[in-house]
């Protein structure tokens, strides 16, 4: 598989993403839905029906080109929040994020696809939303379709897809768009073994092409294999960052599961 001809303007070890003093707090309303009625009620009582959640606290992180950064941590550690902030979807509460290059995201929920439309239409929709032109998508479409191995199903409505097919298509779009920086959030876990192998190869290709990748995953084996660097988040705080094996070992010691066969297997 050849990487498409679009060359990368960035060199190894140049900074791709710089995160400085990142803090993020969510203010969630306790009322299930914010409504006029709820607002009027709390106005009368003079109380604020909100709860503040500290999702990230003073995180400093650099990602260089030619590197793959793995992000690990328990559920609710702030991994996905950090990915959303880097992608510019959520504004940070404190700190500053500088991004040097184009970003393509593959977040847990998948692209904002319209399930009643075919995979083909959704590829166009997703690409256009990401700011590509129609011609650019058309040029890459065959490659996306081939990589996803969907075959004729590409023209079937996406509501008929299995979750594996869905994530295969989403990964193909995100990885074929050839971003400078690719952010993948737990999207590698739904594909079958063959597709997982293929996407790992693609990640390695992107790495050697001096792109920057950030991968959020609970699959420690995968991370040990592809990452040059692992960051461990716990309750919004960056606990440790460094060499993959050392960081993952520390994380697993922390979880008191040690390196048993069960936890090392790809989930």
């Amino acid at each position: 598989m050849n990487l498409p001809s679009v060359s990368n303007a960035h060199k190894t070890n140049e900074i791709a993403v710089s995160v400085r003093g990142l803090g993020l707090t969510y203010t969630t309303s306790i009322e299930r839905r914010p409504t006029l009625k709820a607002r009027a009620k709390s106005l009368g009582r003079g109380t604020k029906h909100t709860r503040v959640i500290q999702a990230l606290d003073n995180v400093n992180l650099d990602v260089e080109y030619g590197h793959v950064l793995g992000v690990i941590g328990s559920n609710g550690a702030g991994k996905s929040s950090m990915m959303r902030v880097i992608a510019g979807i959520i504004p940070p509460t404190q700190g500053r994020i500088e991004v040097f290059g184009s970003v393509s995201t593959l977040l847990a929920l998948g692209v904002g696809f319209n399930p009643s439309m075919s995979g083909r239409d959704n590829v166009f929709l997703g690409g256009l939303a990401a700011g590509m032109t129609r011609d650019q998508i058309e040029d890459n479409f065959q490659e996306i379709a081939d990589f996803s191995e969907l075959g004729d199903a590409i023209d079937a409505p996406m509501r008929t897809y299995s979750s594996g097919m869905f994530s295969r298509l989403a990964f193909s779009v995100a990885a074929t768009v050839r971003p400078d920086i690719l952010i993948v959030d737990e999207a590698l876990s739904t594909g079958d073994a063959k597709f997982k192998e293929k996407s790992l190869n693609r990640i390695k290709e992107l790495r050697s092409d001096d792109r920057a990748l950030i991968i959020v995953s609970h699959a420690m084996g995968t991370l040990r294999e592809v990452c040059n660097d692992v960051a461990w988040l716990n309750k919004g705080v960056l606990v440790q960052r460094g060499e993959p094996n050392a960081t993952i070992d520390a994380y697993q010691d922390f979880l008191q599961v040690k390196r048993s066969a069960a936890s090392d297997e790809d989930v």
Partner: protein, 279 residues
């Protein structure tokens, strides 16, 4: 390995209510203009408007509506004529363009949750798409109206071309309304349930079921508060009667449209970066 000094392509800093850099914002909006059209099309298609009967319904629905309201007029007034029916269809169809923009716009942001949580793009595209959908649904009814007018109304005048600037102002107003209400619905989710009453009230306050000449001067003075009144009045003046609309009502309509569009966009743009955490 000397790192050259680079300019970051994106900088994200804490959110504070204020406008994003407008030039960069409009550039990235312009870059996605095809997305707005494609997204609107896909929404229309997903509501089965891609099929033959779905498209037929786009025409049948306003025709049935106009028939029902015509029946209402006949019963209340005791009699009616074809000129009244032509006026009714003209104004009702334009009214439904605005009304569809509102009903589409109110859910535009809250319904686009998946898209908003997973992709970074100018959020204002969502209410804009709602108006484009409403426009797509309006255009065939305009054709239906022209057929009705040819059959019932007789001659065409060049003054009917005034409909073009009026439609332009109406689109601007619809954009402003859709942008405003889509943003409000993020903070007050029950607005969507009030909306049918709001549109129904505006319908009865507007010269659709009656002509503006039927109103007393006192009521006409109050109608300056209804942004749709001068638009629908001028629309009927131009398309039904073939006369140039009054300059004053065109100016009032334009002032309303620009004001709502600017204020709505300001509120939306200064708040939109917060939407992802509010959904």
């Amino acid at each position: 390995m000397s790192a050259p000094i680079q300019v970051p392509s994106q900088v994200y800093e804490p959110f504070h209510a204020g406008l994003p850099p407008l030039i960069r914002y409009s550039k990235s909006l312009w870059l996605r203009r095809t997305f707005i059209v494609e997204y609107s099309r896909s929404e229309l298609r997903s509501k089965n408007f891609g099929s033959f009967f779905g498209q037929l319904w786009l025409i049948l629905n306003p025709l049935l509506l106009s028939a029902v309201y015509f029946l209402l007029i006949v019963i209340i007034r005791g009699s009616s004529d074809s000129a009244r029916y032509v006026h009714l269809t003209a104004t009702l169809f334009l009214f439904y363009f605005v009304s569809n923009s509102l009903t589409g716009g109110v859910k535009a942001v809250t319904g686009g949750q998946r898209l908003i949580l997973n992709t970074a793009f100018p959020r204002i595209m969502l209410p804009i798409s709602a108006v484009v959908i409403a426009l797509f649904r309006f255009l065939p009814t305009l054709l239906v109206f022209l057929i009705i007018r040819t059959v019932l109304g007789g001659a065409f005048f060049w003054q009917m071309l005034w409909a073009i600037p009026i439609l332009f102002i109406t689109t601007l107003l619809s954009l402003g309304l859709a942008i405003t209400i889509s943003c409000m619905n993020v903070y007050f989710r029950d607005i969507a349930s009030f909306l049918p009453y709001l549109t129904r009230t505006i319908l009865y306050l507007s010269p659709v079921l009656y002509e503006s000449s039927a109103l007393s001067p006192k009521v006409l003075k109050i109608e300056i508060l209804n942004p749709l009144f001068p638009l629908l009045d001028s629309w009927s003046q131009a398309l039904v009667h073939g006369q140039a609309p009054q300059t004053s009502s065109m100016l009032v309509a334009l002032a309303w449209a620009v004001a709502i569009f600017v204020i709505g966009s300001y509120i939306f743009l200064s708040r939109e970066r917060e939407f992802a955490v509010r959904l």
